[in-house]
């Protein structure tokens, strides 16, 4: 899990870490994919439940409120993917068509992300993937996935 810096259009939106999400972004900067894990039953979970949701407060398996941040193995497989053709933001104009993917990590956690280092046509549900980290600003690094060797 190496951290690489790729040239990125500065106009693309950069996440703004806050107190709740700092462990995720700190982890990414250090090359670790941070998930939520239940201390009571060891179940791993995605950090947030969906669009606009806060960091998970409860375990999805046992309802315990005793959750912690824990690193994923960084390995998983492609659960599903889509190809974005609609232009919503000029910053992505030269990327179209680009993929958005849901990866299921080896811990059983589905994350919305992006697959890099793979042509859209070569994406196949079930393919093995490994996390990579992309530095999108001086302070912020985000996880993406590439085909696993």
């Amino acid at each position: 899990m190496t951290v690489t810096t790729t040239p990125s259009d500065p106009a693309k939106p950069v996440p703004v870490p806050d107190a709740h999400s700092a462990p995720f972004f700190d982890g990414a900067r250090a090359g670790r994919l941070m998930l939520r894990r239940c201390r009571a039953c060891d179940t791993f979970m995605s950090p947030i439940a969906g669009i606009g949701a806060p960091v998970r407060p409860r375990c999805v398996a046992c309802f315990s409120g005793d959750l912690e941040w824990a690193a994923s193995s960084g390995r998983g497989s492609l659960y599903s993917f889509v190809i974005m053709h609609q232009l919503y933001d000029e910053a992505f104009a030269s990327d179209i068509p680009y993929n958005i993917a849901v990866v299921e990590t080896d811990e059983g956690v589905r994350l919305t992300t992006q697959v890099v280092g793979c042509a859209n046509e070569a994406l196949v549900i079930g393919m093995a993937l490994a996390v990579v980290f992309e530095r999108v600003s001086d302070d912020v690094t985000i996880p993406k996935f590439r085909p696993a060797s």
Partner: protein, 417 residues
């Protein structure tokens, strides 16, 4: 029921679900009815606010019922993208002394939850005439949809909420539904040819509906040729976006009998929100709450699936119709593509579905699109597109990304007794 069951000895999520509905077959009949329906102009109608559409829709529904604004003692508002759909809409509309008021939100499944709440309040004597309304005005003259409230464009989302935009994952729903469809295609071999029959069938229905936005013909070739929005969703897999408003007036079955229109009885309700753990135990992409919600609603109505004459299914995308049909039990899981391929959902088909054109071709008012067409069909007032047998109309709602489901059974016949 065909929900995926927890695997191994992982703590079952299902155990938290209280199963009161499974304890007995007895259900109290619903005794409320829809007495009025109002539908405003739809689509690219510019220069009007959502509140204005809401007011007109309620006025039209009251006139339809033969009631006046003074008769209204309940107002239920469908929360949506409009900042005007808030409790103070009551003030803008000048409605006074209400005993039931709320803004309700379960995304695209909200309409049925409003009807449920209204029916229960009426049965309990807490309100007598409840206006339920949906209105929105996201389209601006000269603007495109991707610049409307439906773009999902939001750069200032703090923390992890902003992560999706860094990937270019815009739009509140397209990518989620496209993800689900890709999964269904992968698991079951569902094809665009099959999905296209849904879009083509609904457009054929829309051509018979003077109120529909999209009335030009569509062939399967047109469907295939329509551009990708978010692959595997073609443009013609996706619903419209509309300015406009729809309202219904709910009252007791007894009172509805004496009003202007034939009552449309609310015969059965069911909701199911299976949840989404983001883990393998559940897969809302391919297994929705329609299975449980449908079972509950049919049981309360005292009918079987085979008794349903007309289907008005929530159709934010063609795929939503297909997966909902599977989960209601019209065919086995995974066979939805084969099931719809013969065009049975279209005019003249064996299973009339989305008879006004649905949200794909008539107008996009969330759950009020299938509801309004269901009311028109149940009354027998659909003109050229009227389905001959309309004793039972099944209306579905779906929201989130296939994570909130509601089912309503409408009928011109009173139940119970």
């Amino acid at each position: 029921m065909p929900m995926p069951s927890p695997t191994g000895d992982r703590a079952p999520v299902l155990r938290r679900v209280r199963r009161a509905h499974d304890q007995g077959e007895e259900h109290t009949p619903v005794t409320a009815a829809i007495a009025g329906l109002g539908i405003t102009e739809m689509g690219k109608v510019f220069g009007r606010t959502a509140s204005d559409f809401a007011g007109e829709a309620i006025a039209l529904a009251l006139e339809d019922a033969g009631l006046a604004a003074d008769d209204v003692d309940g107002l239920l508002i469908n929360a949506n993208q409009s900042p005007e759909m808030v409790p103070t809409l009551q003030f803008s509309l000048g409605l006074a002394d209400l005993t039931l008021v709320n803004v309700m939100s379960a995304f695209g499944s909200t309409a049925a939850t409003m009807l449920q709440y209204a029916a229960h309040a009426i049965a309990a004597g807490q309100a007598s005439v409840v206006a339920c309304v949906y209105a929105d005005a996201p389209l601006r003259e000269g603007g495109s949809i991707s610049q409307s409230g439906y773009s999902g464009r939001r750069f200032d989302a703090p923390g992890l909420a902003g992560l999706r935009f860094a990937y270019g994952d815009y739009g509140p729903a397209n990518s989620g539904y496209a993800m689900a469809l890709r999964r269904h295609m992968h698991l079951f071999g569902t094809t665009h040819e099959q999905l296209g029959t849904i879009a083509v069938g609904q457009r054929a229905w829309a051509q018979l509906n003077p109120a529909a936005q999209m009335r030009n013909p569509m062939t399967i070739d047109d469907y295939h040729a329509s551009r990708w929005v978010v692959e595997p969703l073609h443009l013609f897999d996706c619903c419209l976006v509309s300015n406009g408003g729809v309202a219904v007036i709910v009252t007791s079955a007894e009172r509805a009998r004496d009003l202007r229109q034939p009552p449309v009885h609310l015969r059965g309700f069911g909701q199911c929100a299976p949840g989404d753990t983001g883990r393998g135990e559940r897969d809302p992409a391919t297994h929705t709450g329609a299975s449980k919600a449908g079972e509950l609603a049919l049981r309360q109505a005292g009918i079987e699936l085979a008794d349903v004459d007309v289907l008005e299914l929530y159709d934010c995308y063609t795929y939503t119709v297909l997966v909902t049909l599977e989960d209601y039990g019209y065919c086995a899981k995974g066979e939805g593509g084969d099931f719809v391929a013969d065009g049975k959902l279209g005019p003249g088909g064996a299973l009339p579905c989305n008879t006004g054109g649905g949200q794909l071709s008539s107008f996009y008012m969330w759950g009020f699109t299938p509801l309004s067409e269901g009311v028109i069909q149940a009354r027998g007032q659909a003109g050229e597109r009227q389905v001959a047998a309309h004793d039972h109309v099944l209306v579905s709602g779906n929201g989130g990304v296939l994570t909130f489901h509601s089912t309503t059974i409408l009928s011109p016949h009173e139940g119970g007794a």
